[in-house]
């Protein structure tokens, strides 16, 4: 199925939960509202017409100008080879885009739909601060429940890849600011 057809199918099934799409790129994508995302994900995986059985990647974007954070899910539908040595066959692929406001970035987790989402969502939380609700590996932080960090230590402050991230001044007694006094990345 082409991305346009998949979008039409989704629009028929979910109506107003499908927001925006972009096809004239190398990376065709469809927007989905955050509150409907787990149902859409389940549909995309289980429906025989779409059959997206593989989550390739979760990308987090910080769109500072639009005041949104955005998670992109790259989906592939693949078919097992007929004989042992042949490569897996790609049936079709699409990218789903879920945008959330920057001041309350909450997206329901899809780690129970695709197991691959587990670590990807932990990383997206760690570096971008998107809170994936009902993530199987959650912990209670000072600001409520969130996925466990995966790269930074648990007591790290802030989310380093956000564009307004401030560098730490020190970490456990180790000075962290460079001698240029630089405290934020240059973009």
């Amino acid at each position: 199925m082409a991305p346009e057809e998949i979008t039409e199918l989704l629009k028929k099934e979910f109506g107003e939960f499908i927001v925006g799409s972009k096809f004239d790129t190398a990376h065709p994508r469809v927007g989905v509202r955050a509150d409907a995302w787990p149902e859409v994900a389940r549909f995309l995986r289980d429906d025989s017409r779409t059959g997206f059985n593989m989550l390739r990647c979760v990308t987090a974007l910080d769109l500072l100008e639009d005041d949104t954070l955005c998670a992109e899910y790259d989906l592939h539908a693949i078919r097992a080879p007929k004989s042992g040595a042949a490569p897996y066959e790609l049936i079709h692929g699409i990218c789903i885009e879920v945008s959330v406001p920057r001041n309350n970035p909450r997206i329901p987790s899809v780690a129970d739909v695709w197991r691959a989402a587990d670590w990807h969502e932990r990383e997206a939380y760690d570096l971008m601060g998107i809170i994936f609700e009902n993530h199987p590996d959650s912990m209670i932080g000072p600001n409520g429940k969130h996925p466990r960090r995966i790269l930074c230590p648990d007591d790290w402050v802030g989310h380093p890849l956000r564009k307004d991230y401030l560098f730490p001044m020190e970490y456990h007694g180790i000075p962290a600011v460079t001698e240029m006094g630089q405290t934020r990345p240059v973009h």
Binding site: P153, P160, I174, P175, A176, T178, M180
Partner: protein
Amino acid sequence: MSWIENRFEEGLIITSLDWAINWGRRYSIWPMTFGLACCAIEMMAIGASRFDVDRFGAGAFRASPRQADLMIVAGTVTYKMASRVKRLYNQMPEPKYVMAMGACTIGGGPYFKNGYHVVKGVDLVVPVDIYVPGCPPRPETLIEGILRLQDMIKNQSLARDRWQGAKEKVLASTPTYA
């Protein structure tokens, strides 16, 4: 400081004993098997046959800090890793030496400016004896570092604490971890 150091006056016997002990110590520097990033690949290379650091007595890479004399900090030290590096250093028996290998461990290297997670030099965490520059240093450079460390050990004396004078400064500038 080991049990024997700093207990004697300089003298003929001590000087000869120094010579013997330093001779033993400098030709059996056992490094720790401990690599943090890309520099560790070059550290592995010096252990292999082409560069063969065993020629200088430093080829017995120990898997435990308790058997090691030299900690080659080969790679990027992150804040998360810094407490582990410190703990490994504390577990090594005296006399112990630290070599900062590569730009990352000397001063943050490529991550100096935009690396939010990289310690800007491992000397902020543990006291360093030898700095080996490069990104990564070639194995020859690392061997040169080991040779310079041997020179350093050659000039040690039982009558002198290795950290004489510097010790207070070092202790004040290195944080302690539980």
